[in-house]
């Protein structure tokens, strides 16, 4: 438990500094990238589904897998589309 707390607190510091470094022009992609990576709870869903001892638990976990997967794939797809549009002046 203490280990997890340490990780939590240190992550908060990393998050704080990394996010302040993001340029305001990219706040929309920031949201969709963080959307995508917050889908990482799919790990929990995958192992819950894989080791479920009852059908009800498995169904819950599988629904969570679908939802998190939409989040992940959709988030990265939208970010990629947005970021592809950010260009500097075309070189002549």
């Amino acid at each position: 438990m203490l280990d997890l707390m340490i990780i939590f607190v240190l992550s908060a510091f990393i998050g704080y500094f990394v996010v302040w470094g993001v340029t305001p022009a990219l706040y929309s992609p920031l949201m969709s990238v963080s959307n995508a990576i917050s889908g990482v709870i799919i790990l929990g869903a995958i192992s819950a589904a894989g080791f479920a001892e009852s059908k009800a638990v498995e169904v819950c976990a599988l629904i969570a897998v679908v939802l998190a997967a939409i989040n992940i794939f959709g988030g990265f797809a939208v970010s990629a589309r947005m970021l592809a549009m950010f260009k500097t002046k075309e070189k002549k």
Binding site: G15, P29, N35, I42, G74, V78
Partner: protein
């Protein structure tokens, strides 16, 4: 042991993917690093699952993946805010289902599970309401009714009581009641919030989906979830802070729906007359200008005028050698960075686009400020009238330019319900009409 190292690698890649967003140059690489990290993490998790149980999981993964990619590819750029809100909600929903499953299997971590469930439920239902508002299914205006605050307060208090009662007693019925109540609370909290406060709400919901992930991470003893959830939670919190700062409101005001009240309107301009002009007049003044600053707002997004604006900027620059720049207020639009994305879609290079604090003093030397579909973010009352609801909000100094053009549908006040005295200033010309139609008419004149 091995899987631990792979998860660590994924965590590092996630951090680098956010880090990449510090500049548009490194951002695309950042996105790829995020994708690699996620693939690594998912593969590692799948590897641990007994082979005979893999099939339904792969199927669920593929189903979600296909839905996600298709909706992500198909969505129009103008519909991005609601898409992001929807994705956000699904992440929260996933946390709720995970927590529910944990309870069904007799979970050992009631505190973490409850945190994951409650915050996930708030993120889910709140985001769905935000989605419905942005999509136009629900009215974009804040929905208010009597005793709303009291009701929200009661709901929050009961949720909290159930939370504690569940932790003490371990009765799972309490857990389910608490989760359902949190779902309702998410709806109630977002309903009263109006369109212009959306950037804040989306940021807050983004943070929630991160914090829900942290709860699930503690529940499952999974460090990667804690690290990622915390970073996402911090990101959403920082965005919400930046947005509230840019509106000079507080999170409390927005969450209680107090921002959109507009009674304190002390300034009366009913006698004043605003001068209106035609696109021809505007084109004539712009041709002869040396420096033009374009200020886009939500109206540009609503009219999908970004391509016309880009065309106007190009022709002014190439044919008339005008210095054209774009000025962006942090809360213009419906999500953080909304205007930047729209202008990027129209191929406006990002080095011609400036944030408020970098360009505000340039208005004094500009010949023209072309304000398209924005109002409150230019309103000088924010500086001069302490009784105004928007007092203290940093605004773009468009009034300092020699000529100001407002492209607007009508003389109506902005979202905040405050009259804009700039409309009645002698150097202001109103160009009434649809943002796109007006801009296209100007382009036509400029081409002559």
């Amino acid at each position: 042991m091995m899987s631990g190292f792979l998860y660590l690698a994924a965590a590092v890649l996630f951090i680098l993917s956010i880090r990449g967003l510090s500049s548009p140059k490194s951002a695309r690489l950042g996105n790829y690093l995020g994708i690699i990290g996620m693939s690594l993490a998912i593969a590692t998790a799948l590897f641990a699952v007994p082979a005979e149980r893999l099939l339904p999981i792969i199927f669920a993964l593929a189903l979600g993946g296909i839905i996600g990619v298709i909706s992500g590819q198909k969505v129009k750029i103008t519909a991005l805010p609601q898409m992001i809100a929807a994705f956000n909600g699904l992440g929260g929903g996933a946390a709720v289902f995970l927590a529910g499953g944990e309870i069904l299997s007799g979970g050992l971590h009631p505190l973490a599970t409850s945190v994951g469930a409650v915050i996930g439920a708030l993120a889910f239902s709140g985001s769905m309401v935000a989605f419905a508002k942005l999509q136009g299914i629900l009215s974009g205006k804040g929905l208010k009714f009597k005793f709303q605050h009291a009701l929200n307060l009661v709901f929050s208090a009961v949720t909290l009581v159930l939370f504690v009662a569940y932790l003490v007693s371990g009765q799972t019925e309490l857990f389910w009641m608490m989760t359902i109540l949190a779902l309702l609370l998410g709806v109630l909290l977002v309903l009263p919030i109006g369109g212009a406060d959306m950037p804040i709400v989306i940021s807050v919901l983004n943070a929630y989906s991160g914090w829900a992930g942290v709860g699930v991470g503690f529940m499952l003893n999974q460090t990667l979830l804690i690290i990622t959830g915390t970073i996402v939670g911090a990101g959403g919190a920082i965005l919400a802070y930046v947005m509230t700062k840019a509106m000079n409101s507080s999170l409390k005001q927005v969450m209680l729906g107090q921002n959109s009240k507009s009674e304190g309107n002390s300034s009366d301009f009913s006698d004043a007359v605003a001068k209106s002009g035609s696109p021809t007049d505007a084109a004539f003044i712009m041709e002869n200008a040396e420096k033009i600053i374009i200020v886009p707002g939500f109206g540009m997004a609503a009219a999908r005028a970004q391509h016309a604006v880009k065309e106007m900027a190009d022709i002014l620059r190439k044919k008339y050698h005008v210095d054209v720049r774009f000025a962006i207020h942090p809360v213009a639009g419906r999500m953080p960075g909304h205007m930047n994305v729209l202008l990027a879609e129209a191929n406006v290079p990002y080095d011609e686009i400036f944030e408020m604090e970098d360009i505000n003093r340039e208005f004094a030397t500009a010949d023209v400020a072309y304000v398209i579909g924005a109002n409150d973010i230019t309103n000088p009352l924010a500086k001069s009238d302490p009784s105004s609801p928007i007092y203290g909000m940093p605004v773009l100094d468009v009034g300092a330019a020699k000529n100001v053009f407002f492209v607007k549908r009508s003389l109506g006040s902005g979202y905040a319900g405050v009259e804009n005295p700039l409309f009645f200033q002698p150097n202001t010309t109103m160009l009434y009409g649809d943002a796109k139609a007006v801009t296209e008419a100007i382009v036509k004149e400029l081409e002559k």
